[in-house]
């Protein structure tokens, strides 16, 4: 089995026999790997009909749908893990998608391309053009990646929202790289997240 490096990291850290929801599951590569190697009960959500057909023809349970629209339909805590790989930056409301992810899953894995990687920075700094890189191959006008995010953006985002980072892994050229200076050196990040229980208190006063 030859999983994409970020998916391999996620697969490594999913507990055997667990229930997962893979949001933006593509052709189901991760789901199939988890089913076959770890006996995981995997469900998927995928926007592209061709990908859904490919995943279903692998015997996977995949629903054609849109993370921005359809996650609200899933019951609370119905999965051990909710997984969002390479999809966060394509969402219209990544914040809402992430809220749903942590509502539906006890824990969540989120992977995304890092927009602060040095190659991206140089492209903008010296080229003065929107970066076109290996992980972000589309041009500014046809890219599905409408919410570019950096590792540091993501760290502060989850900190503000009281989300606990249980693990973080960084990739450069498909190889793992260290956490220090990841925002500059990593092309890709994988975060394992859990919602902290204390934020369940109402944050706004309720009028009587």
């Amino acid at each position: 089995m030859n999983l994409r490096p970020d998916l391999a990291i996620i697969a490594e850290h999913v507990a055997p026999g667990s229930r997962i929801l893979d949001v933006g599951c593509g052709d189901g590569a991760l789901m199939a790997a988890l089913r076959d190697t770890k006996g995981v009960d995997a469900r998927g959500l995928e926007i592209d009909a061709g990908n859904v057909a490919a995943a279903v023809s692998r015997g996977l349970s995949v629903i054609q749908g849109d993370a921005d629209r359809d996650l609200a339909e899933y019951p609370d805590a119905s999965f051990d893990y909710a997984i969002l790989s390479q999809t966060l930056q394509t969402a219209h409301r990544p914040d809402v998608v992430l809220d749903h992810l942590l509502r539906i899953g006890q824990q969540a894995f989120v992977s995304f391309p890092n927009f602060a990687h040095w190659r991206v920075r140089l492209s903008l700094l010296w080229g003065g053009r929107m970066p076109v890189t290996r992980l972000l191959p589309e041009r500014w006008y046809d890219t599905p990646n409408i919410h570019h995010v950096t590792i540091d953006d993501f760290r502060s985002f989850v900190a503000e929202r009281g989300i606990e980072v249980e693990g973080a892994w960084f990739l450069s050229g498909d190889k793992r790289t260290i956490s220090a200076a990841a925002n500059m050196l990593a092309e890709h990040a994988v975060f394992k997240l859990r919602k902290l229980s204390e934020i369940k208190e109402p944050t706004r006063p309720i009028r009587g």
Binding site: D41, R43, A49, G50, V52, A53, A55, V56, S57, R58, G59, L60, S61, V62, I63, Q64, G65, E73, Y74, P75, S78
Partner: protein
């Protein structure tokens, strides 16, 4: 091995029943016309039930006895197809209320020794499913590997795990819905009124006269047929093109009410050819059963409750140009299945052909159904 008369093409069985119907009546006996393909394996675990649509029949993969046309779903069922007699024991039965040999208004009421006509009890989709279960008992099948159906067949495929949660391991529901909408009911009512407005209908007692309400049934079929197609499909196939005439190969506007347009000629042909193979009263009963169908309503108003008891896997397919049972209807079922925690796959496929797309060449549909069925083997 001696030949088992229960298995094969063009089978017919009279089961004693009685079958308690949703309307309260007891039906006895229960006649079922059906076909089987393939071989039931030793532990009877490879049975796949195919459920047909409103005007379908048991000849899913064999030539129709009246029209001689190939089986109505030979694209899905047959050697090398997703439902394959080499792997599956395939059962397809004419639904209760229909007119191809199963109990319906045209069969004999034992109380009067005459055709039932409108004395036949009104039936539901769930009654059709219960009759199919009687047939499976007769065939020695306790659990279905899968139940597969499109349109009204999809309603049965949804009703199966809801009615017999332990008897079905997988359900394939194509171009279907969990409930008939006001618009669905409205179109059916137009069809029924067309039949009943035909003086030859005679309150349903036309069987002995040899002169059925063909005009009314043809109009019903014409109206319904429009709902099976899409505007884009009609435009592509017919546009405003004129019908050829003997003296005018390119057609002409007649300034009259002949079938000037090709679409008129096509619909008239659909209507006329339909009455040769279908019974008007059956059309009334089956459209009524579809209108009554509301699977959530049968389960306290919560569709998810229909699926709480079953462990079956589900696969739903819709088509983007189907306005009879649009994708939103399939999505509602998917959401209910998710809420019930059932394993479910769903895909909306693209086709120009509207509701009828499920009966036509749809390689992606076949790929999805094939993969889904193999995953359970």
């Amino acid at each position: 091995m001696t030949e088992d008369v229960r298995f094969g093409l063009a089978r017919h069985v009279i089961l004693p029943g009685p079958l308690r119907l949703d309307g309260g009546a007891l039906l006895s006996p229960v006649e079922i016309a059906y076909e089987t393909y393939g071989t039931l394996n030793a532990d009877a675990s490879n049975a796949v039930l195919i459920c047909h649509a409103l005007t379908g029949d048991q000849h899913v993969a064999s030539p129709h006895p009246v029209t001689g046309k190939p089986g109505w779903w030979a694209r899905m069922v047959g050697p090398g197809k997703p439902v394959d007699p080499a792997r599956h024991f395939i059962v397809c039965a004419n639904v209760l209320g229909s007119c191809m040999g199963s109990s319906g208004p045209a069969t004999i009421d034992p109380a009067t020794s005459a055709p039932w006509g409108m004395a036949f009890p009104v039936i539901t989709i769930r009654d059709m499913v219960r009759a199919q279960a009687l047939l499976l008992d007769h065939l020695g099948i306790a659990v279905l590997q899968a139940v597969v159906g499109g349109s009204m067949g999809g309603m049965q495929a949804l009703s199966w795990p809801a009615t017999f949660p332990e008897r079905v391991r997988a359900a394939v529901v194509i171009a279907s819905t969990a409930r008939h909408t006001a618009q669905n009911i409205a179109f059916h009512e137009v069809g029924r009124q067309a039949v009943m407005a035909d003086p030859k209908w005679r309150g349903g007692a036309y069987y002995d006269l040899g002169d059925p309400p063909a005009a009314g049934l043809a109009v019903a079929r014409m109206a319904a047929h429009i709902t099976y197609l899409s505007e884009a499909g009609l435009t592509e196939k017919f546009g405003r093109r004129l019908q050829a005439r003997p003296d005018r190969p390119d057609g002409a506007i007649s300034f009259g009410f002949d079938a000037d347009f090709q679409i008129e000629s096509y619909l008239r042909h659909q209507g006329i050819s339909f009455v040769d193979r279908f019974d008007a009263n059956s059309y009334l009963y089956i459209t009524r059963a579809m209108d009554y169908f509301d699977l959530g309503g049968e389960h306290g108003g919560h569709l998810a409750n229909a699926f709480r008891a079953t462990k079956a896997r589900f696969c739903l397919v819709s088509f983007d140009t189907d306005w009879l049972y649009p994708t939103a209807q399939s999505r509602a079922v998917v959401h209910a299945l998710n809420a019930a925690g059932a394993p479910v796959s769903f895909v909306e496929l693209s086709s120009p052909y509207g509701h009828d797309a499920f009966l036509l060449d749809a390689p992606e549909m076949n790929r999805v159904v094939d993969g889904f069925l193999r995953a359970g083997e």
